[in-house]
């Protein structure tokens, strides 16, 4: 039993990494725009799906395809901000309008991909190098799980350090808190918002690649569930709080896997239920999340 649970925990680490990276993007964008970017899951899909396209259609080597995929998802996020959100905000769209717009953007991107490629599941290319498995005291640990986990932790440390100590990171938190006052400091909040979209979308792209590596399957609607789960992880960690979102991602990821592992197998289709119960509990017991949120709740754009 102990070995079984430990094995499940090892399995949960890469899932937690995937959710953690997604949650950071949600939390940063929410923190700075008060916007739940529901198209974030689609940026995640673009990361994984474009890597699949680069390797199969263009026959590029995996590493190059993966780097291009990260760039593609970053550019997609940036375009989303430029073409969809920024004009909406400039015309004085309310929080509700932009919320609906982000839903529309999510559905639009997903269906656009489905139209071109159909929603058939495809095998994500996994280099043979990643397939190695180590056995430690009866627990199987895949090299890819180790790589996914360590890459994620490394990225998270870099992002946390950046947000906490760099001038741009501090400016980002200032803009999240109060855009108008930040502009009195000489901060161009539109530029800061762009930087946030770049970082968030890059992380979503990396997360998509990790998902592909870990589950081996990609399809245009793959972003939907991890997207929602990542969002819940962000709420759990306290919106706007970057390290909180990462920890939230691991809690939700590990929780979801253990939920399934500990219940009798016939209940395993209930897996998605776990995150919704969790969301309900958070909203009910501690709506601000486990860690200090980094936003001033005022329900407007601060002019």
């Amino acid at each position: 039993m102990v070995i079984y649970i430990l094995q499940q925990l090892v399995n949960a680490l890469s899932y937690g990494s995937i959710l953690g990276l997604l949650a950071v993007g949600y939390t940063m964008i929410y923190g700075i725009l008060g916007l739940i970017n529901f198209a974030h899951g689609e940026i995640f899909m673009i990361g994984a799906f474009s890597c699949y396209l680069f390797t199969t259609v263009l026959n590029l080597p995996w590493v190059i395809a993966a780097l291009l995929a990260i760039i593609t998802s970053t550019i997609s996020g940036l375009l989303l901000e430029r073409i969809v959100y920024q004009p909406c905000i400039r015309r004085g769209g309310s929080v509700l309008t932009i919320f609906i717009v982000s839903f529309a953007a999510s559905i639009f991107i997903r269906f656009l991909f489905m139209m071109f490629f159909t929603d058939a599941r495809r095998a994500f290319p996994i280099p043979a190098f990643f397939e190695k498995i180590y056995f430690v005291g009866g627990i199987a640990i895949g090299l890819r799980d180790i790589l996914i986990f360590t890459t994620t932790i490394l990225i998270m440390l870099i992002v946390s350090y950046f947000v906490k100590y760099s001038k741009l990171g501090i400016a980002m938190r200032a803009v999240s808190y109060d855009k108008k006052t930040a502009s009195f400091m000489g901060i161009n909040s539109i530029r800061i918002i762009r930087v946030v979209f770049v970082i968030g979308s890059m992380l979503a792209g990396i997360s998509g690649l990790e998902y592909g590596l870990s589950f081996g399957i990609v399809n245009p609607s793959m972003g939907f569930n991890p997207g929602l789960t990542g969002f819940i992880a962000a709420v759990l960690g306290g919106v706007g709080n970057v390290p909180g979102a990462m920890i939230g991602g691991f809690i939700v990821g590990i929780g979801e896997i253990l939920f399934v592992a500990l219940l009798p197998p016939i209940y395993s289709p209930l897996r998605p239920l776990f995150v919704w119960i969790l969301l309900f509990l958070i909203l009910f017991l501690k709506p601000t999340g486990l860690f200090r949120p980094n936003v001033k709740f005022e329900g407007d754009w601060g002019e």
Binding site: A174, F184, M185, G186, N188, N294
Partner: protein
């Protein structure tokens, strides 16, 4: 003139607040803008910062028109605004607030020397540098707001109600600091409800009433004027 507001009319949405306002600020001066609640003092400052645009008239800084610029561009020219109600970043530490204030300063050494100057002006801020700004007392928050506005080494400081809600002893020390800031070369446009103190500090003052300049002149002359005495100093 360093900063001149010429015939500015403006307001919010459709509600007009200012009517043909003319204000000048010379190099090295402290100029006070006094008036009752709702007279348009804060609106005047906000108009200079670019957060609201003039409907008519112009604002010039060093003879350059600035009224079409964005707020963050106006700051980069050397006009710094210390908002009313001490809009500090409550989620950041004291040090981080000051760091945000120096956002436009690229040089690390310059940042360090500005920071040391602010810590000299307000030793309390140095003691609390790692504390979250939201946990400071009202007086400390006001010091932080002023310190933050000075971190960009502005040539013009726009101060909105620095005495608001502070104990008299704190008001006095804040005003002393304003004097120090001014003697080190920063021109100050001060919006203040405490007319007596404002007239003590400023060389010149403008009296704003219902969005228009009612009176202006040297502080010592205004102090003697019957109108100011009756309406603002409570002397019959």
């Amino acid at each position: 003139m360093l900063l001149s507001i010429e015939n500015v009319t403006t307001g919010y949405e459709k509600a007009q607040v200012l009517k043909k306002v003319n204000i000048n600020l010379g190099k090295g001066e402290i100029v006070a803008l006094i008036g009752a609640n709702g007279a348009g003092k804060t609106t005047t400052l906000r108009c200079i910062t670019g957060i609201i645009k003039p409907w008519e008239g112009t604002i010039k800084f060093n003879n350059q028109k600035i009224d079409a610029l964005e707020s963050y561009e106006i700051v980069s020219l050397g006009i710094s605004y210390c908002p009313e109600g001490r809009d500090i970043f409550a989620n950041l530490s004291v040090y981080e607030n000051l760091k945000v204030g120096s956002y436009l300063i690229k040089d690390r050494r310059e940042f360090k020397s500005n920071l040391n100057q602010i810590y000299e002006l307000f030793p309390r801020l140095q003691e609390r540098s790692n504390q979250i700004a939201g946990s400071l007392s009202g007086g400390e928050q006001q010091m932080l707001a002023i310190g933050r506005a000075l971190m960009s080494k502005p040539s013009v400081l726009l101060l909105d109600e620095p005495s608001l809600g502070l104990a008299p002893i704190l008001v006095e020390s804040i005003f002393k600091v304003i004097q120090q800031i001014n003697s080190s070369g920063t021109s100050v446009l001060l919006v203040e409800q405490n007319v007596s103190l404002a007239l003590d500090l400023a060389q010149r003052a403008y009296v704003l009433e219902k969005g228009a300049i009612k009176l202006s002149g040297e502080s010592k002359d205004l102090r003697e004027s019957v109108y100011v005495k009756n309406s603002y100093l409570g002397i019959k």
